[in-house]
């Protein structure tokens, strides 16, 4: 079966530094792939290339088997790749609906913003993720971390993306809110979305990921099935930057 996303020999340099160095990875339908590694291992740069923030220096990105090049985040979105950045990328002065539809506003026949419709749709998608979210009119700056995360996830989901990239979605959240995010990931997986999940937390990764790709110094150390390895083995890959033994079967 053709994978949703296939990355082949992708490299990105900043000055003399190889932020991403000949990376290969794949993502299938209904699959969650964890991207692990220390700070500076190249995870964020890799997903920023996938999200259309930077063009790659070398290598190619295939979406459903077709080679794609993204000149801007809007083009990556148009190809069905939605990214939830670690910063969440929300305009703090705007409310949930305005952020959710930012860049894809619903318009009335008079080309004005259809605020009522946007608020209505936003309320629908947001409540499915987080039923406790009720105040649709307050600006993002007055929201809790979990509410902000909800808005960012809702924005990624509302436009029928099949490919989702989540950069540290639980890093700034309390336990209950992190639970909400992990539950959402599982549900989306069941719906057939492919998800790249970047995380520092090995527990979270083992809970929801089918495979993990470990990176160090811009390069892929190895890709393993979570079912085939222990947490210690994955930690060793992160820290030592080498894959031990043959028990870690390639996917």
């Amino acid at each position: 079966m053709t994978p949703l996303v296939e990355v082949r020999g992708l490299s990105k340099r900043f000055g003399g530094i190889h932020a991403v160095d000949r990376v290969d990875c794949t993502l299938g339908e209904g699959e969650v792939v964890g991207l692990l590694g220390h700070n500076g291992a190249g995870k964020s740069t890799l997903i920023k290339v996938l999200a259309g923030v930077f063009p790659p220096d070398e290598g190619e990105i295939l979406v459903r088997g077709t080679k794609r090049e993204f000149a801007s985040p809007a083009e990556a979105r148009a190809a069905g790749i939605e990214t939830i950045h670690q910063s969440l990328a929300l305009a703090e002065n705007l409310d949930a609906a305005a952020n959710l539809f930012l860049g894809r506003e619903r318009l009335t026949p008079w080309r004005t913003l259809d605020s009522d419709r946007m608020e209505h749709e936003a309320a629908g998608v947001i409540r499915r993720i987080n039923p406790a979210f009720t105040d649709m009119r307050k600006p993002v700056r007055e929201m809790s971390g979990g509410q902000r995360q909800t808005v960012a996830i809702a924005r990624a989901l509302h436009f029928d993306a099949r490919i989702l990239i989540m950069d540290e979605p639980c890093a700034a959240l309390g336990p209950a809110e992190a639970r909400m995010v992990l539950d959402t990931i599982r549900r989306l997986k069941a719906e057939g979305l492919g998800i790249f999940l970047i995380s520092h937390d090995v527990e979270d990764v083992f809970e929801v990921c089918d495979r993990v790709t470990v990176m160090k110094a811009g390069a892929v150390v190895g890709t393993v099935r979570t079912a085939d390895v222990t947490r210690e083995e994955v930690l060793a890959m992160i820290i030592l930057g080498e894959k031990r033994g043959a028990q870690a079967g390639r996917a």
Binding site: A51, V53, S72, P73, A74, R77, T83, H85, S87, L88, A89, L90, A91, E92, N93, L94, A98, N99, L102, G103, R104, E105, L107, R111, T112, L113, S115, D116, E119, H120, R137
Partner: protein, 402 residues
């Protein structure tokens, strides 16, 4: 008091700004034995405010988008000189359509000046402060070169009406009609908003608060019309007859059109939404796929067009084109926007706030002229007011954040 106001759905910041303006008016009226509040002076004040207020509307967009334009006075001068040159030197002032052609050329020049600065700021990443400081020098120099420093006069007779002087107002009947129409619109908007909120079960201010707001707005509109009509127009009547009132000045109508259009764009159009999103978080705007560079470019072009409109009003009022118009305009315009609640942190600002800010500054200036305060002392006073306003705003925001 503040909590109470907020509960009643009043914008506390705007309300306090209007209250400050009212206090200043009372003080100036007392200090000038009532001359400040005479219909004649208020008519002049309304005309004087328009140039600053129109440009302040564009400055709100710029500052909201984390930019600044220090060159608006120079843009005014260059556009104004091109307008005067078109009428006086090129086509001849009374040639049919010469005035219209000159306005088109002025607007085109404004858009081009904005595009030039916006391109450097947006696509080449230069700080707006530097680009527009350069623009301040470039456009002022260009304004001088248009007629080698000479004043070009006279401008077309019909054109001069745009400046609000002789034949520069719409008379009492039309003024009343406009005032009543405006009141009807205010009431309709208020009712429509309540209906829309009720349909979605959204939180709503108490009915009496909305009614009070609409009543105060209507009273202000009708009061304004009454005062404008109370200023007799000496040119309107044959000898011996009682002169008619002047009514609303043409520049005020232009300001109203600009303000309404830009308020709608800010709240109801995609472009306005993108400007505010960019100002709130430029990185988020980019990651959300907004054409951020184009948005910044367009905001500068909008400012250029508004500077050109200000140039039209100013040259029409003077009846001539001089390269020295618009000096210090940038400072008054920025001050008006900031006093009106536009934040340099980006993403926050309103058109009505900027207009009240412009009225406030122009009132102080006008009042102090009536009191024979020297221009040097007026500058000092307005500088201090600017610091005071921004300081109050800081205190205000900190209180709110707590």
């Amino acid at each position: 008091m503040r909590a109470w106001l907020e509960q009643a759905g009043f914008d506390t910041r705007f309300t306090s700004l209007v209250a400050a303006l009212a206090l200043i008016w009372v003080a100036l009226a007392v200090a000038t034995d009532g001359v400040f509040l005479s219909p004649r002076n208020l008519y002049n004040l309304s005309i004087q405010t328009c140039v600053t207020a129109i440009m302040a509307c564009g400055m709100v967009y710029l500052i909201v988008a984390r930019q600044i334009d220090l060159s608006v006075g120079s843009q005014m001068a260059f556009a104004g000189m091109l307008i005067a040159w078109t009428q006086v030197t090129w086509l001849g002032a009374e040639t049919p359509l010469a005035a219209a052609a000159s306005i088109a050329i002025g607007l085109a020049a404004g858009l081009l000046m904005g595009a030039f600065q916006g391109w450097w700021a947006a696509y080449r990443g230069l700080p707006a402060f530097v680009v527009t400081l350069a623009g301040y020098l470039i456009f002022r120099g260009a304004a001088f070169l248009v007629a080698d420093g000479q004043t070009l006069a006279p401008l077309s007779n019909g054109y001069q009406g745009i400046g609000g002087g002789v034949a520069g107002s719409i008379g009492p009947a039309w003024s009343w009609a406009l005032g009543v129409a405006a009141c009807a619109w205010v009431v309709a908007q208020s009712v429509h908003a309540r209906r829309s909120r009720a349909r979605y079960n959204a939180a709503m201010a108490p009915a009496w608060a909305d009614a009070l707001k609409a009543a105060v707005t209507c009273a202000a509109v009708l009061g304004f019309v009454a005062v404008m009509n109370a200023y007799p127009d000496p040119t309107s009547a044959a000898e011996g007859a009682t002169p008619e009132g002047k009514g609303i000045g043409v520049p005020v109508l232009i300001l109203l059109a600009v303000a309404v259009a830009l308020t709608i764009v800010a709240r109801r159009m995609r472009f306005g939404r993108h400007v505010f999103a960019y100002g709130g978080n430029p990185e988020a705007a980019f990651l959300s796929g907004l054409p951020t560079k184009r948005v910044v470019l367009q905001v500068f072009m909008l400012m250029g067009a508004l500077s050109a409109i200000a140039a039209v009003i100013t040259t029409a009022r003077l009846g001539s084109g001089t390269h020295s118009i618009g000096q210090m305009a940038e400072l008054y315009v920025i001050a008006a926007a900031v006093i009106g609640g536009t934040s340099f942190a980006g993403g926050v600002g309103t058109i009505p706030g900027a207009i009240v800010g412009a009225i406030l500054i122009q009132s102080l200036d006008n009042g102090m002229v009536l009191m024979d305060v020297s221009s040097a002392k007026r500058q000092i006073a307005i500088g201090l007011i600017l610091i005071g306003a921004v300081w109050l705003d800081l205190v205000w925001t900190r209180k709110g954040a707590r």
